[in-house]
């Protein structure tokens, strides 16, 4: 009974998804192409969902401060574009360049969150939002020199959207790309994503990863075993931030455009929602849930778009997506709260 209720969202979403696929088929949408699109979006968004995992496991809540990592990734990518890095190596360069920023911002973020034990999520949301607006400031005055990134008039300040195609956009998507009749399978992208998943999975089998899990499960236990709680949490939050930085790089290269300014404002919510859809419910959290959740969420995403446009008014798909994202988060809060009350 307990387990069944925990999986209500997955059941509903899966049924809904099935319905959507049938509906799409009946109105003549190319189902195979849409499904392959969902796989592409798994590679595109998966790493951002993965960035939820270390913090969740260390008991620091869902990483709603994802913008900290995202900003680091954006900084790495803008630098890479400014240096005119191209191709796969360019992408790797962008990843590498974003690492130091991610470490630094992650450390700052960890310091913030260690002050607000137990209320990390709401604090993370607003700290992330604030950072985005600070960076808006930065984007509009930063001394970048590549004119492709700058406003055509005046030559100062970055554009809200930078085309990555001449640099490293889609470089990973095109790697080992298998195409068929209307569908495509970016094996390279998926392999890179699963490689990251495997790394994270293995990390939790290491000594430090084990300590992180223990800190999340039972701080008293961890303390008695000689674990430095503060440091372990800091490492977990930094790791989440680094993954978020890599995640936005994956996202942007797959999208082909670099979106600055307010664009990443609400990116944390779909990522959190994906993890929750994968079956995370207040405790635990695994790489499997990340993959399953992201796949479910993105399949939903690709199917709602054309269907909503076909059946209802345009623009409705965005609303539907926001509805689904936030309902899943609210349901999980609801479920968690009820369980806490019952356990009390």
């Amino acid at each position: 009974m307990h387990h069944l209720r925990q999986h209500i969202p997955q059941c509903i979403i899966s049924l809904f998804l099935l319905l959507l696929i049938l509906l799409a088929h009946s109105v003549g949408l190319p189902v195979a192409a849409l499904l392959s699109d969902a796989l592409v979006r798994l590679g595109m968004n998966g790493v951002l969902t993965l960035a939820m995992l270390p913090m969740v496991r260390a008991g620091a809540g869902l990483n709603f401060g994802l913008p900290f990592g995202i900003i680091a990734g954006l900084l790495g990518m803008t630098l890479a574009v400014n240096f005119r890095f191209t191709g796969l190596y360019g992408f790797a360069g962008a990843l590498l360049l974003s690492l130091p920023f991610a470490m630094l911002l992650g450390w700052l973020y960890a310091r913030l969150l260690n002050r607000v034990r137990g209320r990390e999520e709401i604090a993370g949301i607003f700290a992330g939002f604030s950072l985005i607006f600070v960076m808006n400031f930065f984007w509009s005055v930063a001394p970048f020199t590549n004119p492709a990134m700058l406003w055509p008039i005046g030559g100062q300040g970055l554009r809200p959207t930078v085309n990555l195609q001449p640099y490293f956009g889609k470089s990973l998507n095109k790697l080992l790309l298998v195409t068929g009749d209307g569908w495509q399978l970016p094996l390279g992208l998926l392999a890179a994503f699963f490689l990251l998943c495997a790394v994270v999975h293995c990390f939790f089998r290491l000594r430090l990863g084990r300590a992180m899990i223990a800190v999340g499960d039972n701080e008293d236990f961890a303390r008695l075993a000689g674990v430095n709680i503060q440091r372990t949490r800091t490492v977990a939050i930094m790791l989440s931030t680094v993954l978020a930085a890599l995640g936005i790089c994956f996202y942007a290269q797959s999208y082909g455009f670099l979106e600055l300014y307010d664009a990443p404002l609400l990116l944390a919510f779909p990522a959190a929602s994906s993890l929750l859809l994968g079956g995370y419910a207040g405790a635990g959290g695994s790489v499997g849930q990340v993959v399953l959740g992201t796949l479910l969420f993105q399949t939903l995403y690709v199917f709602t778009g054309p269907l909503a446009n076909e059946l209802l008014a345009p623009q409705v798909s965005e609303i539907l997506r926001s509805l689904i994202t936030n309902s899943v988060i609210l349901y999980s809060l609801f479920y968690e709260g009820r369980r806490r009350r019952a356990g009390k």
Binding site: L206, R207, R210, F221, L224, A225, V227, A283
Partner: protein, 527 residues
């Protein structure tokens, strides 16, 4: 005279656990009745029933009859209990820290301005001035010098206790006043003041139920005393028969087991030299403890609860701030330095702890037996893959599994396999997993807190035997902190008795019962 409250055959079960069994209690107007017992003896449950705490009905209610001034009643909620005239002064200060004293005293019964009365109970405007005046009157009746407009959270603890008392006695319908450890946070002079106030309240015809661990208070001011142990009433004393030693002994159980385990093998060599060791742990402080732990001995530490028996181990492992000097095998150790714990250093030196509250701090309930047993050892750098660099921390599952399997066999942990989650095990087996976890660290000194609490009789014997084996076969020095005197007498070489965080006596295990009881009550002489 009609008793204010008459309880008959009160039985309360939490699932299979019996918290109270056939408890009887009569409280008469004008008497101060003492209620004493160990932690977990059922006092809190009994008070919970009297206060109508929702926790009680939520966990299935209780059986037995309750008569209030001759009429059978049920306490459905705290509000209902308060309406009957029961006042409760809690251990954990049921005061609201950001409100003023007056607001706290009048909470839920605020005076209202006359003109706003017709707006109804909820929308009537509060008459702050009237509340201040009424509160000041009550405070002066308690002879407490405090301005009712002060913020409660900034008051010293002792004053807060009096505010709470003021809140209760200002209720006009008060018939029964229940106090749970009212003097625990008070200085001796404040405590005396409180007790004299209690006597006055009782003189007005109010029945007072006083719960306290300070037995001399109980003997000094109570007319009658009821002792609870393991959920049963084990003794009742009337005014003439109040005797400190007897009460202490009946609280902790009969000391029937007199057999010694073996001739002591402890060498005269000092392993751990503790001097001026103080631990700042809320509810269980330790002051300037000085003793020597000998290599290979089993040392028992006991005291009444709250007198420091759990602070020794917790302080030693750096779980709470401590000061003082520790010499372990010649090397100096500091469990707490610069405001941060040094737990890892203590573990590395070979000092380990099996905590008392295993579900709270001893186990990762969701994880496997293997992970629980090896976790601390892994964190200390054991069981890592030898071919990989150590900083990577790659676990060797062959080694951890071997270690877990060995301990499962050695301690006879009943389980499906080593991958079974610990939450599925019984209490005794969980305790063994806790023990195995500490043993996996290869300890030289092992602190055990209440090793047999919540463990059934059969498993208890096996656990005690396991402890003896560890000591004899592996030469591990054990320090057992427990309230179970019979068990301590069975396994220990020496028993250290604490009173108010200081050593009251160090006794041999075969010491006579009265001597032990005296030591527990703070009247022992070091031996």
């Amino acid at each position: 005279m009609e008793p204010t409250l008459r309880l008959r055959n009160i039985t309360k079960k939490y699932g299979r656990h019996i918290a109270l069994q056939n408890v009887d209690l009569d409280l008469y107007p004008g008497e101060i009745h003492g209620l004493v017992g160990e932690n977990g003896a059922g006092k809190s449950t009994l008070l919970g029933i009297l206060a109508g705490q929702p926790e009680i009905s939520r966990s299935g209610g209780f059986s037995g009859s309750v008569c209030w001034q001759g009429c059978p009643v049920t306490f459905s909620s705290p509000a209902a209990a308060a309406r009957l005239g029961i006042g409760m002064v809690n251990q954990d200060f049921a005061l609201l820290p950001t409100l003023t004293i007056a607001e706290n005293i009048r909470a839920g019964r605020e005076s209202i301005l006359p003109w706003s009365r017709r707006l109804g109970q909820w929308l009537a405007c509060i008459d702050t001035r009237q509340d201040l005046k009424l509160s000041a009157a009550v405070l002066s009746r308690l002879q407490v010098r405090a301005d009712p407009a002060w913020i409660t959270g900034r008051l010293p603890v002792s004053l807060r206790q009096f505010v709470e008392l003021a809140r209760e006695i200002s209720k006009s319908q008060l018939q029964l006043l229940i106090l749970d450890e009212p003097t625990a946070a008070l200085t001796p002079s404040d405590a005396t003041h409180l007790l004299s106030v209690l006597a006055e309240i009782a003189a007005d015809g109010v029945a007072v139920l006083l719960v306290s661990h300070r037995l001399e208070e109980i003997t000094a001011c109570c007319r009658r005393v009821t002792v609870l142990r393991n959920g049963r009433t084990v003794a009742r004393y009337a005014h003439g028969e109040l005797n400190l030693r007897q009460i202490a002994a009946s609280m902790l159980g009969r000391l029937t087991v007199e057999s010694r385990r073996r001739p002591s093998r402890a060498s005269a060599e000092t392993l751990l030299d503790v001097s001026n060791f103080s631990v700042n742990m809320s509810g269980d402080t330790l002051h300037n403890l000085t003793f020597r732990l000998q290599r290979g001995e089993i040392l028992g530490i006991t005291s009444l609860p709250g007198h420091g028996r759990s602070a020794v181990g917790n302080g030693m492992l750096g779980l709470f701030p401590s000061s003082g000097e520790l010499k372990f095998d010649g090397a100096t150790l500091t469990p707490w330095s610069n405001g941060a714990p040094n737990t890892a250093a203590m573990l590395a030196a070979g000092i380990c702890l099996v905590p008392d509250d295993r579900r709270q701090s001893g186990l990762l309930l969701q994880r496997s037996i293997e992970e629980n047993i090896t976790f601390a050892a892994v964190q200390q750098g054991k069981f890592l893959q030898p071919r990989l660099p150590k900083w990577l921390g790659w676990l060797s599952h062959r080694q951890t599994a071997a270690c877990a399997t060995a301990f499962v066999r050695q301690l006879d942990i009943r389980c499906r396999d080593i991958h079974q989650p610990v939450r599925e095990l019984s209490g005794g087996n969980q305790q063994k997993v806790c023990l195995a976890q500490a043993l996996a660290l290869g300890p030289r000194v092992l602190f055990l807190h209440e090793p047999t609490r919540g463990v059934d009789i059969g498993a208890k014997e096996m656990l005690l035997q396991a402890l003896l084996n560890l000591n004899e076969d592996q030469g591990i020095t054990l320090v057992v902190a427990s309230g179970e005197l019979a068990e301590l007498k069975r396994i220990c070489d020496r028993i250290l008795v604490l009173y108010e965080g200081r050593i009251s006596a160090i006794l041999p295990p075969d010491c006579p019962e009265p001597q032990l009881a005296l030591a527990l009550a703070g009247k022992g002489e070091s031996f």
